[in-house]
Amino acid sequence: MKQSIYTIKINQHLTDQVLKMVLAGDTSAITAPGQFINIKLDGFFLRRPISVCDYDEKTITILYKIVGKGTEYLSTLPAGKTLDILTGLGNGYDTAKSGQKPLLIGGGVGVPPMYRLAKDLLAEGKKPSVILGFNTKEEAFYIEEFKALGIPVHVATADGSLGTKGFVTDVVKTMENYTYFYTCGPEPMLKALSDVTVTSGQLSFEERMGCGFGACMGCSCETKYGTKRICKDGPVLEKEEIKW
């Protein structure tokens, strides 16, 4: 973990409610896809945890949805403004377990971490496929960016306005020969995926956080391997250890 100051380079709407923010600064603490950052916002006591969508030596990209006052405030910040951020938080996904044809499944604001994960898997010579789930076509984002990676991209929308009508699980049921799965999204989706997938996999969870770096025990959950802190021992858990 590192604490550092970042400068907003881009903060733009992808949809009505979802924005993309590019932050310039020290990215050396980030070690795995699926890790998150914790952002201090003026006027708010707790930091706001957001997944890393992508990063390079000098920038971090995040995608976030306006759901409350903190994310609303974040959406108003202009390029050039600086933010105090903790980076390199959480365990992230372990790409070593993926096999050759892993399936990546993102639902809503669970989509962002799948992007860097897909890039890392490609760099390791693997052949990931991705399934992105949204409520409606209007709420969908980052589909073109995933396609630009040259991987198969399946989209499901609850109302059928784009791609398959239904849930990501409906698409997963039609998939064959995948070797492993990785997912992030709302908890009911994670549970449903854990039931319909035929391989092992890794699932990323959310919890309300006090610190985000393992100090307060605010985010604990019980797993088959004992008590874990979502922020430090997670957010990624293995399918086999989860107690639903």
């Binding site: 973990m1 604490q3 201090k40 708010f44 006591f45 707790l46 930091r47 903190g70 903790l86 919890e207 309300r208 956080m209 006090g210 610190c211 770096f213 393992g214 100090a215 307060c216 025990m217 605010g218 985010c219 604990s220 959950c221 019980e222 008590t227 430090k232």
Partner: protein, 304 residues
């Protein structure tokens, strides 16, 4: 040169800054960030006889200038704290620590304190009497002078190290409770623990915290803490460790002027992981700004 050294029951600290129990784990997370040996001491996570998972999540809620937690004393239990956590802690922290102990019966407090008293690293035992008393209808030990005194006596009977009783602010007369603890043999008083609070989510129309209520702390409670420290320090002769909302060197000085000999920093560590380091580094400069050469000169200064 200014003097930041203070003494708690014979234990001299390089400075009065102590991370508060439950906000610093067992130190390792912070030891990755800075050398935690710069701290005066630190109070580790509340320890109970049995391992505890704590309360269901969500356990955390955002508040204006503060937060609510309902962690519920999650800890690995006294056996593991002694066999696993303390040996690990020894590697990153070389000063005496404050052992924070909780219990749900007088016997449990006495049992854990007797065990932890034998640990070389422990400098002070801090007994948190804010837990519900399972034998007396769940009322917290810390809300009655008699119950708090009973715990104090039981712990003092089986320990050799200084015993500080950590008081809850959720009472009508904190002074009578502090005095009862002093009369029962307490070597010092720590205060305040968190204040009971609640938030309700407008979208779900339900309490944010799974347990409905929790402990409110952080910047927002600072004035209440200063007031209670002032009242207690005036009434007792033993040293007082002040806490509640401390997040700057100025706050440390204010707390000491109210009567605290040392000061703990809680929620601030969670949102600003370098909070204690920053406070310790700022302290000499801020002392100079206010014409203070020795912190010992200002303890209780606001009363004079």
């Amino acid at each position: 040169m200014v003097n930041t050294k203070v003494t708690l029951s014979g234990l001299t600290l390089d400075n009065p800054v102590i991370p508060a129990s439950g906000t610093f784990g067992y130190g390792y997370e912070f030891a990755e960030l800075y050398d935690i040996n710069i701290l005066g001491s630190f109070s580790f996570k509340g320890t109970t006889k049995e391992p505890r998972f704590g309360n269901p999540t969500p356990r955390i809620a955002e508040c204006p200038s503060g937060m609510i937690n309902s962690v519920g004393l999650q800890n690995p239990g006294i056996d593991k704290v002694i066999s696993e956590e303390l040996p690990k802690l020894r590697k990153c922290f070389h000063k005496p620590v404050i052992a924070n102990i909780s219990g749900f019966s007088v016997d449990e407090y006495a049992y854990c304190c007797e065990r932890i008293d034998k640990e070389e690293q422990v400098g002070i035992i801090e007994v948190n009497v804010s837990c519900p008393n399972v034998h007396h209808g769940g009322m917290s030990f810390g809300t009655s002078p008699e119950a708090a005194a009973e715990v104090t006596r039981a712990v003092k009977a089986v320990t050799t190290k200084p015993v500080y009783i950590k008081l809850s602010p959720n009472v009508t007369d904190i002074v009578s409770i502090a005095k009862a603890c002093e009369d029962a043999g307490a070597d010092g008083i720590s205060l305040i623990n968190t204040m009971m609070g609640m938030r309700i989510d407008l979208k779900t129309k339900r309490p944010v915290i799974a347990n409905k209520m929790g402990g409110f702390s952080g910047k927002a409670i600072f004035p209440i803490a200063v007031r209670m420290v002032y009242q207690v320090a005036e009434a007792v002769k033993v040293p007082v460790i002040g806490m509640g909302g401390v997040s700057s060197a100025e706050d440390v000085i204010e707390m000491m002027l109210a009567g605290a000999t040392a000061v703990q920093v809680g929620a601030a560590n969670l949102v600003e992981p370098f909070a204690c380091k920053n406070i310790i580094e700022d302290l000499p400069r801020v002392m100079e700004r206010y014409g203070i050469t020795d912190l010992n000169d200002i303890i209780g200064g606001a009363r004079k």
